[in-house]
């Protein structure tokens, strides 16, 4: 049962009904049962991994809290155990392909076995680690009720694609008293509808063109078009899913953290990654970047480099070490292949170059008297960021590095134009995509300028609001990509 099916909508309406009728103290049990029903339909018996991993976290958190002397050892062991599930199920092929050339020298071979990957394992593994580390750091108390912990780590709206939540922030929200709020109910459905528009009208439509273009190893203008389309597709797919899951969660009175903040208005790639997949960035910052930055090794290094005359070189050296791990893990988290590692390191290299070249760039700006506060300069910065991101998405979309290298050579053939209607989209499809992309852009521009679109919609008169609601519903029904001959594409980030 995917998020974008009628079955799922019926499921949440029924679950909502039961939820608000249930006694306040036990509403969370409805969430737990609903989550496991949803999880069972998606994954069957392999939900056992989520149950076991949560149980390990439950027991070890209690041990960490009670046992101050050995808590570091308990934390490390439990994190490694939980990570071993992920390593075995998702990364065993990647690990064996890296290690086997060395193992073969000693006549050993790590066998490769393809396992069914439990839905959401990449997401709830990070959440489990954050829970254990927070208990260790005393930022969170160990939960006494295993089933409450299980409710959080199997919570169905965030199961497939996140957002990655921290138990310490959500414990109160998840288990506190909830009352039905009609205004929030309406607003939540608008958000769900918005997500459906992004996913079914834009992402799945452009995905047809992108899939066909990449399958045929196209070149020239069509390749450039498909890279741009893919960037739009993945944004609409992922952020659309986030709109749907946030809206669904709001129906139950639980507000999930934002995972996107209009990333294509970013003026630098650092800003882009503070606005794209925000919860993953926050997790890597809190549990990888800061611990490594504040490690004895890095602090000692920092003390030594501060004596260097050039401050930006000192800064470069200080952040290069922890940031390498952040971007390596960012890439690896997305997938078990070298392509994803290179994807992560692409951003690492760009950021490090930015730090290193900053004084030179500042000198150029001063020399040519470039005004960096005007809108035209900001527009240039935004376009520059989009180009860098599109190139990264090009790598991300390729099947592997071989295809990336092969297709990159075709990028320079910009004057070769294939028939753009030979890749599965008609003139009407381009028109529909274009119109809805403009609508999404307008909504995001309004939000960027500080205008809360949903709030403003709620303030309007009944007739206007219902016109908008009906437009959303009919747009999805008429222009959504489904029906005979199509299967709604599964969410891209659900594959991680």
């Amino acid at each position: 049962m995917s998020y974008i099916t009628l079955k799922f909508l019926i499921f949440i309406v029924l679950l909502m009904g039961i939820y608000y009728l249930f006694p306040k103290k036990y509403k969370w049990l409805v969430i737990l049962c609903g989550s496991f029903y949803f999880y069972w339909l998606l994954s069957g018996k392999i939900i056992i991994f989520n149950i076991i991993a949560t149980f390990i976290a439950f027991i070890t958190a209690k041990l960490i809290e009670k046992n101050n002397k050995h808590k570091k050892g308990i934390l490390i062991s439990s994190v490694l155990l939980i990570l071993s599930f992920l390593a075995l199920l998702k990364y065993n092929n990647f690990i064996s392909s890296i290690l086997n050339p060395i193992m073969n020298i000693f006549n050993f071979n790590i066998p490769y076995k393809k396992f069914l990957i439990p839905i959401g394992i990449s997401y709830y593994t990070l959440e489990l680690i954050s829970y254990l580390v927070d208990v260790y750091r005393k930022k969170c108390e160990a939960e006494n009720n295993y089933f409450k912990l299980l409710t959080f780590f199997s919570y169905f709206p965030k199961l497939i694609e996140g957002p990655i939540c921290k138990y310490r922030d959500y414990k109160e929200k998840m288990f506190s008293e909830k009352h039905f709020d009609y205004e929030k109910f309406k607003s939540a459905w608008v958000l769900i509808g918005y997500g459906f528009i992004k996913k079914l009208i834009i992402a799945d439509r452009l995905g047809i063109f992108v899939d066909n273009a990449f399958k045929s190893n196209t070149t020239g203008m069509v390749l450039i078009m498909s890279i741009i389309f893919y960037t739009i597709q993945i944004y609409c797919d992922f952020s659309g899913c986030m709109n749907i899951v946030s809206g669904v969660s709001e129906l139950f009175g639980i507000e999930l953290p934002k995972n996107f903040r209009r990333p294509f208005f970013s003026k630098s790639i650092e800003e882009f990654w503070r606005r794209w997949h925000i919860t993953l960035g926050d997790w890597l910052k809190e549990y990888v970047f800061y611990p490594i930055s504040l490690s004895k090794v890095n602090l000692k290094l920092n003390e030594k480099v501060r004596k260097i005359k050039w401050k930006h070189i000192a800064r470069f050296i200080t952040v290069a070490f922890p940031l390498f791990f952040v971007w390596f893990l960012n890439g690896l988290w997305h997938g078990a292949s070298l392509k994803y590692v290179v994807y992560g390191l692409y951003y690492y290299i760009l950021m490090m170059l930015g730090v290193l070249l900053k004084p030179l760039l500042d000198k150029i700006v001063k020399l040519f008297k470039i005004n960096t506060k005007v809108w035209s300069y900001r527009f240039f910065q935004i376009i520059r960021t989009i180009i860098i991101v599109c190139f990264g998405m090009f790598l991300f979309r390729c099947d592997d590095l071989n295809q990336f290298i092969k297709l990159s050579q075709g990028l320079t053939n910009t004057f070769i134009t294939n028939n753009i209607f030979a890749f599965g989209l008609t003139y009407q499809d381009f028109l529909v995509s274009g119109i809805f992309i403009v609508i999404i852009f307008a909504v995001e521009l309004a939000e960027e300028l500080g205008y809360n679109v949903r709030e403003k919609l709620n303030e309007q008169n009944l007739i206007f609001r219902w016109i908008v609601y009906l437009l959303i519903i009919f747009s999805i029904l008429i222009f959504g990509i489904y029906g005979r001959g199509y299967a709604a594409k599964s969410f891209i980030y659900g594959g991680f």
Binding site: R274, E286, Y290, S293, T318
Partner: protein
């Protein structure tokens, strides 16, 4: 102590009115890169040890909050 903290902040990122800023982290005036440099300098200057457990945004939002953190760790 306030003057010493401002000197450290200016070493990390000059050109900010630290006396009057109260949302250094929330408004992204100081980034996570800056925080790493800041912590290293504060540790050395004030002979304290800031650990990941102290890395809460509210501890670095303003001069006042940084001063409170230093006093807590001394």
């Amino acid at each position: 102590m306030r003057k010493e903290i401002i000197d450290v902040l200016n070493e990390v990122k000059p050109g900010v009115d630290y006396e009057n800023e109260t949302s250094l982290i929330t408004d992204e005036i100081i980034t996570s890169f800056d925080v790493v440099m800041l912590i290293s300098l504060l540790n050395t200057k004030f002979s304290i040890k800031i650990t990941p457990m102290d890395l809460l945004p509210e501890n670095f939002e303003s001069i006042d909050s940084i001063e409170n953190l230093i006093n807590k760790l001394k």
